[in-house]
């Protein structure tokens, strides 16, 4: 019997990962709760003056989105490593490049996408001007996808370590910085009434680059982690 085509296999993987995520709703809710909690901290720390908060809002929202993505990126391959599924995935005849894209895709759908969709509520909490909300959602949609892909590289490299949490932050935070710069700049520009599109285009090109290259690095990282 023939092995299923790569596309069918990836869809099955995606469905598997989404089902697994849906059966642990707390893990989907955690990053969102984290986002809500930290946003609530800023008015306490910076003072509740609305105009002051508004000027920091683009940066604040983007940094929190980045941190809550960092919280979840470590777990993408963890449980599959522990129960032996990862070994089986590496032996599958389908290209690992596509299978890891399915894993990362599922992770993005349950974190980055949800985060981007609920971000307008948090934006209102710290008084981000209304016209900038569109730019915030768009920049988060593109940016969190890049973060998930880059975070996947760190997750693949540290999956074999007992406590990889700190190491993964050190490894991938430098690569998160360009995304943060252009993501928050897009929102900042929208706040100032200038076009956000150039920055969104740069985020889009980062995403294209990440989709093309990150799976290669993730696949190599997984092979090294399984070998060790």
């Amino acid at each position: 019997m023939e092995s299923p085509a790569t596309a069918a296999f990836c869809l099955a993987l995606l469905r598997r990962q989404l089902t697994l995520a849906a059966r642990r709703p707390i893990e989907i809710g955690n990053p969102l709760l984290f986002f809500a909690m930290v946003v609530a901290l800023f008015p306490l720390g910076l003072g509740p003056a609305p105009d002051k908060l508004a000027s920091f809002a683009p940066g604040i929202l983007w940094i929190i989105a980045l941190l809550s993505n960092l919280l979840t990126s470590e777990t993408v391959f963890r449980s599959d490593f522990e129960d032996g599924s990862l070994e089986q995935l590496l032996l599958a005849p389908q290209p690992l490049f596509m299978s890891v894209l399915a894993y990362i895709g599922a992770q993005w759908l349950t974190t980055g996408l949800l985060l981007a969709l609920v971000s307008p509520i948090f934006a209102l909490m710290i008084n981000l001007p209304g016209p900038a909300i569109g730019a915030l959602v768009a920049s988060l949609l593109l940016g969190t996808a890049v973060l998930s892909l880059v975070g996947g590289i760190g997750a693949a490299l540290t999956v074999g370590l007992k406590r990889g949490g700190m190491l993964i932050s050190l490894l991938i935070l430098p690569f998160y910085m360009p995304v943060l710069i252009f993501g928050s700049a897009a929102v900042q520009n929208a706040v100032l009434g200038m076009p956000a599109l150039p920055y969104l285009a740069i985020l889009g090109s980062m995403l294209c680059l990440a989709i093309a290259l990150a799976p290669l690095a993730i696949a190599a990282g997984l092979r090294i982690s399984i070998d060790a």
Binding site: R16, T19, E87, L89, P93, Q94
Partner: protein
């Protein structure tokens, strides 16, 4: 239908040497696995049985010297069962990460019934015992069409009846022209020639 070992080797191993932690586990290991071979790897704990199987499967790619050729798709069952506790046995098999083929519901039900899990198809796997987890994994053997099976301690946590069933399945597989390389501490009770590879002695007997 070939009954004895014959034909082109499914797996050829030449001069395999492995060193772990400054100790030489085996050296100059050479053997062919032909269709119809039932090869049992034997040796005390720490002799390198699992390491050998991981090298044969292609999971370990560094740290050993020698040459090996894999000429057919293989199925590897390791120490971990690769069964997700949050998925039911049916989902575990239908969406299995080994990407072998897409099975119909009926095929999966038959395979689960063969390993004694009839009626457990849609129970979340975290409600199953350790032995039943192993059995979900073993159901893959009933579904598989791959010729070469690499099994690492397949009898762990399996009851006596399950072991007998599994031994029967292994013989059926090699009689169909497949091949099995397995590690186990128990002697196989089968009416078929079992080739032994003893790692403590160093050379295939």
């Amino acid at each position: 239908m070939p009954s004895g070992p014959s034909g082109e080797p499914l797996l050829a191993v030449h001069d395999l040497c492995l060193e772990r932690g400054g100790r030489e586990l085996f050296r100059d290991l050479s053997f062919d696995v032909l269709p119809g071979h039932l090869l049992q790897v034997d040796g005390p704990n720490g002799a390198g049985k699992t390491s050998l199987l991981r090298i044969l499967a292609g999971l370990s790619r560094y740290g050993f010297s020698g040459h090996l050729e894999r000429r057919c798709p293989l199925l590897y069952l390791g120490h971990h069962s690769a069964v997700k506790a949050l998925l039911t046995p049916r989902e575990n098999l239908a969406w299995h990460v080994s990407g072998e083929s897409s099975y119909s519901d009926q095929q999966i039900e038959e395979a689960l019934a063969r390993v004694g899990l009839y009626g457990y198809e849609d129970v979340p796997s975290h409600a199953l015992s350790a032995g039943q987890h192993r059995r979900v994994n073993l159901a893959r053997l009933y579904l598989s069409h791959r010729a070469l099976w690499l099994l690492d301690e397949p009898f762990t946590a399996i009851d006596k009846g399950g072991v007998a069933e599994l031994e029967k399945l292994l013989v059926e597989h090699v009689q169909r022209g497949g091949a099995v390389v397995m590690t186990s501490h128990q002697p196989l009770r089968v009416a078929y020639e079992v080739k032994m590879l003893s790692l403590s002695a160093g050379l295939p007997a």
